[in-house]
């Protein structure tokens, strides 16, 4: 059959257009692209640096073991510099430029707040450990999952410890003036009141204030039996602890995990000021009554030691949550493939994923995966290789 020049041109044009529009086939050995938004520099970077150690180790382990179904994981990392604007730019680049399969992070709530809706619109599955409550909502953001606790869970654990274990009924709640600090105070004070405690002092203070003696004296005058500070600023927290020590005021301090960080410890006037300080932490990464870590965690720590990953200047739970995250992604892709809806479908049915950090479960209606029972309080002064002893009152369970 003969073909006119016009028909030939039409056919060639149609073939070209079809070629351009056709979705490129994903080769079986193409890498799995994981977009990663850690804060490795900037004022909130201590968490990011710890988490990054776990993420990098997990990716190396998975790739060394042959990858996921023969496909290597390629981690495309963009440092958010603790800046929400840079986190948004990074997320846009990862989804539009690199067309990643999944995004991990951001790992600070302030950066996650603008990024979560952006990724929801980009139709990319997201896994993050941020605590602010609204950052995982199965209806609003059906592709977003949280493998960490919510603020409600964290505050609930601290409040239960103060009111039910320590039996303190008059509580002082203080925070810095950041969004996290003020949101925490606003959320936890009503919870305390519901539990029957009396909040005798409540305040948001500029974290740069060099002298917190007025605040501590005001708490003392109000008859507080426990201090609950909510801030990630080690300088602010250390000033509270130091002032309590200088006043020889023997009330417990219970609150944010940073109370137990190495940065806070380094700023204490005296080591003994760290006594009776109980930060939040997570049972799977704590020393039990026998002084040992759970078996799963012990094996993980041995692998960290073999890989010469430093644990002395960070917290074990940061490394652990970082380590679990690529494994959660790898398990989903290995079982159902890398299509966004398949990953989401798999996670929606996830039950008790045995992470080092915790047992993660999701349902189609609940994308907050961390179990309440694994959130505990610990003794700050027991810090050893990033892990703590459980606070008094938890028993050997």
């Amino acid at each position: 059959m003969s073909m006119t020049r016009r028909q030939a041109l039409k056919s060639a044009g149609a073939a070209t257009i079809a070629g351009c529009l056709a979705k490129p086939a994903i080769a079986a050995n193409d890498p799995i692209l994981i977009g990663y938004l850690p804060a490795l520099t900037g004022p909130s970077s201590s968490t990011g640096i710890g988490i990054n150690r776990g993420v990098q180790m997990a990716v190396q382990e998975i790739n060394a073991a042959g990858g996921v179904g023969g496909r290597q994981i390629e981690l495309i990392s963009r440092d958010t510099q603790s800046d929400p604007t840079k986190a948004v730019n990074g997320a846009a680049e990862l989804t539009k430029g690199h067309k990643v399969n999944v995004v991990v992070g951001p790992i600070n709530s302030g950066e996650a707040i603008p990024v979560v809706p952006l990724l929801a619109r980009a139709n990319v599955p997201q896994l993050h450990p941020c605590w602010v409550d609204q950052l995982a909502d199965a209806k609003k953001y059906p592709l977003c999952f949280r493998n960490g606790p919510t603020n409600q869970q964290i505050g609930g654990a601290a409040n239960r410890y103060v009111v039910e274990v320590l039996k303190k009924k008059k509580v002082a709640v203080i925070s810095d003036t950041t969004g996290y600090g003020t949101a925490s105070v606003n959320a936890y004070v009503p919870m305390l009141k519901t539990m029957g405690a009396e909040v005798v002092y409540q305040s948001n203070v500029d974290a740069a204030n060099p002298d917190l003696k007025p605040e501590i004296l005001r708490m003392q005058a109000a008859g507080a039996e426990a201090i609950m500070p909510w801030s990630v600023n080690a300088g602010f927290l250390s000033r509270i602890i130091n002032t309590r020590g200088q006043l020889a005021w023997d009330v417990p301090i219970c609150g944010q995990t940073t109370l137990g960080s190495g940065q806070t410890k380094a700023l204490l006037d005296k080591p003994e000021y760290w006594n009776k300080v109980y930060p939040n932490n997570f049972r799977p990464v704590c020393y039990g009554a026998n002084g040992n870590l759970p078996d799963r965690t012990k094996a993980f720590v041995d692998r960290l030691r073999s890989a010469k990953i430093d644990m002395s200047d960070t917290l074990l739970w940061w490394i652990a949550v970082g380590y679990d995250t690529p494994h959660l992604i790898a398990q989903a892709i290995k079982n159902v493939g890398a299509e966004p809806e398949k990953i989401v479908g798999y996670w929606n049915k996830l039950k008790d994923f045995p992470g080092v950090y915790g047992d993660i479960s999701f349902t189609p209606d609940e994308h907050n995966g961390y179990p309440d029972k694994q959130i505990v309080m610990v003794e700050a002064n027991s810090l050893k290789e990033g892990a703590f002893n459980l606070a008094p009152g938890y028993g050997a369970a």
Binding site: T41, P43, S45, D206, A208, P214, S238, Q263, D269
Partner: protein, 285 residues
């Protein structure tokens, strides 16, 4: 409570006053408000911690090096951020250039040092008490600086030369004074004073990069209240600011203390635009 307000207030007020003096020394030499003053204070604390705690140097040597570091930044400020804009003072480009330099130094410090506050060493190995060294060190540093500047300006030839260029730099140059060198020396002196503020207040403020904007802001208040270029006014206003801030901390607490401080600051400037100690200057029309 009153004792606490007074001791803490005077201590923090002395730090603000020293930063205010650093502003003034730079202003006198160049008619420029260099917003690197707070950065100098931040650097004094961080260099002190770096040399003494991290590098293990003797305290006296770390102290001298910290002041030298401040002086060096002062000179760099003059060369990089002030000298290029001196010819167009009326356009106030120095606001941009000095703020930019301050920001560069602050960010570089955050990257190289730490974004978390770091400990500052105890200067004297004595037990902590009510009137601790973290309170009296800034007071001593402030007193020494005031006396030292009085001696320098009133009883030395160099001091007279500084005053001459502060009074009328054209006339001073016509008399053969090396204006540029004197200006650089003034900036070095201001750098050392700023670093001294950070070093003396290091135990209170910690070695923290974010102290720079705090000191830039609160250090400017004594200058505005005390009168531009007026060191005595800066000291008095710095002490008043520190005391008022501490009193507000005790009485109203929380974030309302800062609100109270700046409310009073604005009211004072509305009532006396030239500052508490400043005099109105006539303008030929």
């Amino acid at each position: 409570m009153v004792e606490s307000i007074v001791l803490s207030g005077v201590a923090i007020g002395c730090i603000y006053a020293l930063i205010g003096i650093a502003y003034n020394v730079m202003f006198s030499a160049s008619r420029v408000f260099s917003f690197t003053a707070g950065t100098l204070g931040m650097l004094g604390g961080i260099l002190g911690s770096l040399f003494i705690l991290r590098m293990g140097m003797p305290i006296w040597f770390g102290f001298i090096l910290a002041l030298a570091g401040g002086a060096l930044l002062g000179v760099v400020t003059e060369i990089v951020a002030v000298r290029p804009v001196l010819k167009s003072l009326d356009q106030h480009l120095y606001v941009l250039s000095t703020l930019a330099l301050a920001l560069i130094v602050q960010q570089y410090t955050a990257i190289e040092w730490s974004t978390e506050p770091q400990p500052f060493p105890r200067i004297f190995d004595v037990a902590r008490g009510g009137f601790d060294q973290q309170l009296w060190l800034p007071m001593v540093a402030c007193a020494i600086t005031i006396v030292g500047l009085e001696v320098l300006y009133r009883h030395t030839l160099l001091g007279h030369a500084f005053l001459a260029i502060a009074e009328d730099n054209y006339a001073a140059r016509a008399l053969g004074l090396p204006e540029r060198n004197l200006r650089m020396a003034s900036y070095a002196l201001a750098g050392a004073i700023g670093a001294l503020a950070g070093f003396a207040g290091g135990q209170m403020l910690l070695a923290f990069f974010a102290n720079a904007p705090l000191l830039t802001f609160y250090g400017f208040v004594p200058v505005a209240l005390g009168g531009m270029g007026n060191n005595r006014g800066a000291v008095v206003a710095g002490l008043i600011l520190g005391l008022f801030q501490q009193a507000a901390n005790f009485l109203v607490g929380g974030i309302f203390a800062s609100v109270a401080v700046f409310t009073v600051f604005i009211i004072v400037l509305l009532a006396r635009p030239d500052g508490l100690a400043g005099a109105s200057v006539g303008r030929r029309v």
